[in-house]
Symmetry: C2
Subunit: 193 residues, 2 copies
């Protein structure tokens, strides 16, 4: 998606350790006009699927998921990082490794919000090693629901997550795929679509 690639080139900051900071428009401050265009693009890419629900994970996936849900006219469910003992009722649970925070945590969705009737589009802001998306796929499959696709804002194409999920036969569409990036020069090369 040209608009997103341009924005990453303009406002993204490449740091040592394969870190791309896009906190000025994607995951701390959020450019909602850009999100609206991204939502329309996800609708174009997945609009022929029988999607009745969007699943994301707190916190930074929620904004994009909600705007995309407006295009699909479906509700969003966000998986929660379990930190509270205030979890009554039955939950689907999975474990996710965090690359950024260097730890693993339990992630939950209430069973009443995912069922075998559901056709789910996963939306998230980043795909790198695929830990978060794989966790969401696990939650959906625990419910016997169908994964209709995975829509990602920025994929780090030089990390294995995207390929691993595509190899499962799941349709992954990333609006910008970074082929390589260089912390010294700041250069970012995108995969040709």
């Amino acid at each position: 998606m040209e608009l997103l690639e341009e924005r990453i080139r303009r406002d993204g900051i490449v740091k040592e350790g394969n870190i791309l900071k896009v906190d000025s428009f994607l995951n701390h401050q959020m450019d909602v006009e850009l999100f609206t265009q991204m939502g329309k693009e996800f609708k174009r890419l997945f609009g022929d699927r029988p999607i009745n629900k969007i699943l994301t994970i707190e916190a930074s996936g929620i904004g994009i998921a909600v705007i995309t849900a407006q295009e699909f006219h479906v509700p969003v469910v966000f998986a929660k990082k379990a930190k509270s003992v205030n979890l009554e009722g039955e939950m689907y649970m999975t474990k996710i490794e965090s690359f950024t925070h260097k730890r693993s945590y339990d992630v939950i969705v209430a069973k009443k919000f995912l069922s075998s009737e559901d056709h789910v589009l996963i939306i998230d802001d980043f795909l790198a090693n695929g830990c978060a998306v794989n966790g969401l796929i696990d939650l959906i499959q625990s419910a016997g629901a169908s994964v209709e696709g995975v829509g990602i804002a920025i994929e780090k194409g030089f990390q294995p997550g995207g390929q691993l999920i595509r190899d499962k036969g799941i349709d992954v569409e990333s609006l910008a795929i970074i082929e390589s990036m260089d912390a010294r020069s700041g250069e970012i090369v995108f995969r040709k679509s």
Copy 2:
């Protein structure tokens, strides 16, 4: 807001300990069509203010904030619960007590996303004791920015937060204010607007 009150009556569940569960449409599963109507109502209520930014706090405020931002054509910044050591650069920080999780945590916003030029609308899903909103006000004031108002989906009118913030001269508009609720009968009484 009649539509929200009706939805709370229909799908909200009152539990012992002044707990109102609205996770089927507000803060776990999110009814985005309802959020769109709520965003329009916030625009009606605050549309005459010179708002150039919306501030919320992760995670459950983000969905409503982003949809509301579409109406105002402004970006959203969400305050983050600090759990990572990966916090480079300068941050505004405040401490928030959590009623639900019975602990306090540090909440941060990068300084580059709040300045003395900003006129900020705070958006959140719940207002009860006011800890989260007071923390957000503190962050805004640390930046020398202006609080233009506070927009809340559901206020627990029998808890002190709303009154405390209004007593500071801040305009708080809650789309539904619960006067009382009863866990045994399930009855919910709304404040007349």
